[in-house]
């Protein structure tokens, strides 16, 4: 491409000054950007309001796109369902019968659980979701893994609340705008979740690796008892998540734990629900720095 000549200001003072001012403003722009970047490193929530407002302004478009996304997905599922429908149907019927029996058994166990808890004088309130909404978008071009939720502080959503789909944990609310909020997904590198192996008491941390996998780090080191295929559920430690929600399935073992895949892919979930923080006091205690004393 030939040079445009816009840089040749000639003898015109005005053109020379315009050109010079352009460079100065560009330099100042870089400086302003660097200062804001440094500020948002130390105070990540500082610009949450602006971002929330921007997301809220975009919500008619993102809500429509989310509706179309979930709608088109179910069309595809309907079509693929016809493939070998007969044998699938028979198999599903068999599984359904077994599942019905197991469900009744689980109800009996639940009943017994309630009775035993009553004996121990433990009270557990039934948790109702704060809000049920669609995931309307995500930070698809950034290294960070955030999703945007179509419900905000107007619906009662607050920072720290766990987000789950019918399959399992999705993430945690990071910023809440008035009508939309930002969710820190499990796969983000900043996400750490206390988990335990379903079935026994092997406790670990599930950390996002930033490439779609979770790293399971065992708390008690020694002989690694994990095996590929193990299911991990939330342990309830830390106070944010209710215990017993499915998180990840182990695919590979390493020295200090293993690598796991998330159970509930947010891209596949139609609706997700935001729940109350499980134990707000414990969550507050976990967030308070060690130097500061907790007062009641």
């Amino acid at each position: 491409m030939a040079p445009t000549g816009s840089r040749r200001s000639g003898y015109s003072r005005r053109a020379q000054y315009n050109l010079f001012t352009g460079y100065v403003i560009a330099g100042i722009g870089a400086l302003i950007g660097a200062i804001l970047l440094a500020l948002s490193f130390f105070q990540p929530q500082l610009f949450g309001g602006v971002r929330g407002a921007a997301q809220g302004g975009l919500s008619p478009a993102t809500e429509t796109a989310a509706t179309v996304r979930t709608g088109s997905k179910s069309v595809w599922e309907n079509i693929s369902g016809y493939y070998r429908a007969g044998s699938k149907n028979a198999q599903l019927k068999r599984e359904m019968e077994i599942a019905r029996i197991r469900l009744r058994e689980a109800e009996a166990v639940k009943q017994e659980n309630v009775r035993l808890k009553g004996l121990l004088d433990l009270h557990e309130a039934e948790t109702k979701p704060v809000a049920v909404a669609r995931l309307v978008g995500s930070s698809a071009s950034s290294t960070r893994r955030f999703a945007y939720l179509g419900a905000g502080s107007d619906d009662g959503v607050a920072v720290g609340m766990p987000v789950r789909s019918p399959r399992g944990v999705v993430g945690r609310i990071l910023e809440a705008g008035s009508s939309s909020s930002r969710v820190l997904l499990l796969t983000d590198t900043e996400s750490v979740l206390p988990v335990r192996r379903a079935g026994d008491e092997v406790v670990a941390f599930a950390e996002g690796r930033g490439d779609g996998l979770l790293r399971i780090k065992l708390i008690n080191l020694g002989i690694n008892p994990l095996e590929p295929g193990d299911l991990f559920v939330t342990s309830g430690a830390g106070g944010y998540y209710r215990p017993g929600i499915a998180v990840a399935i182990l695919t590979e073992t390493t020295d200090d734990g293993g690598l796991a895949r998330i159970v509930s892919d947010p891209a596949a979930a139609d609706y997700v629900s935001v729940e109350q923080i499980y134990e707000p006091e414990a969550a507050l205690g976990a967030e308070t720095p060690i130097e500061r004393e907790l007062t009641d």
Binding site: M1, P3, S139, A140, T143
Partner: protein
């Protein structure tokens, strides 16, 4: 004359008689297209990897390299502000890096006034590598080797998409200068 050739008084931008460009469209097109491209990556839900290329940056590079002289040097500041609102990077990142990118292209243009398209592609490729690497380094999270490896598909895709972005910018540019307005 019209009877012999109906397109005698038209060129690529439409009729040359009695028609003129729309000033608003001609001025707003580069800015509006970059802003829209900044917003587009919000729509897909990517949970595992950053798969969608930074479309706002691609359009910025496209307009700056395909059509030099349209965007002022300081365009990185306001356009970066819009990108920061939607990209998921810490606030100020795009303002900072986009301003530096505009200055860098200015320097390249001063050094190499005559360039072919592949040279522009090379410049854009280097800047995209720098941008994504800086994005990994300054994402606000601990930069891990795994998230760096996860960047590679996005990086390759973005570099390969630049020629398409450049053609798209050229198309928008023709659209921008079409004579819509009846005098």
């Amino acid at each position: 004359m019209e009877r012999n050739d109906p397109r005698a008084r038209t060129d690529a931008y439409g009729s040359r008689i009695n028609r003129s460009h729309s000033n608003m469209l001609a001025n707003a097109m580069p800015w509006a297209s970059i802003m829209v491209a900044s917003i587009l990556p919000v729509f897909p839900i990517a949970t595992a990897l950053p798969v969608v290329p930074p479309l706002g940056l691609l359009m910025l590079l496209g307009w700056r390299l395909v059509r030099p002289g349209l965007l002022p040097v300081w365009a990185g500041l306001p356009l970066g502000l819009i990108d920061d609102l939607f990209s998921g990077q810490p606030f100020g990142f795009a303002m900072f890096v986009w301003s530096l990118i505009m200055l860098a292209i200015e320097v390249v243009e001063m050094r190499l006034p005559w360039r072919a398209f592949w040279q522009d592609w090379f410049t854009a490729g280097l800047l995209i590598v720098g941008y994504l690497f800086a994005g990994w380094l300054l994402s606000g999270a601990q930069p891990t080797i795994h998230s760096l490896v996860a960047l590679v598909p996005q990086l390759v895709l973005t570099i390969l998409l630049f020629p398409i972005a450049a053609r798209f910018v050229a198309m928008l540019d023709r659209f921008r200068l079409t004579r819509w307005r009846a005098l």
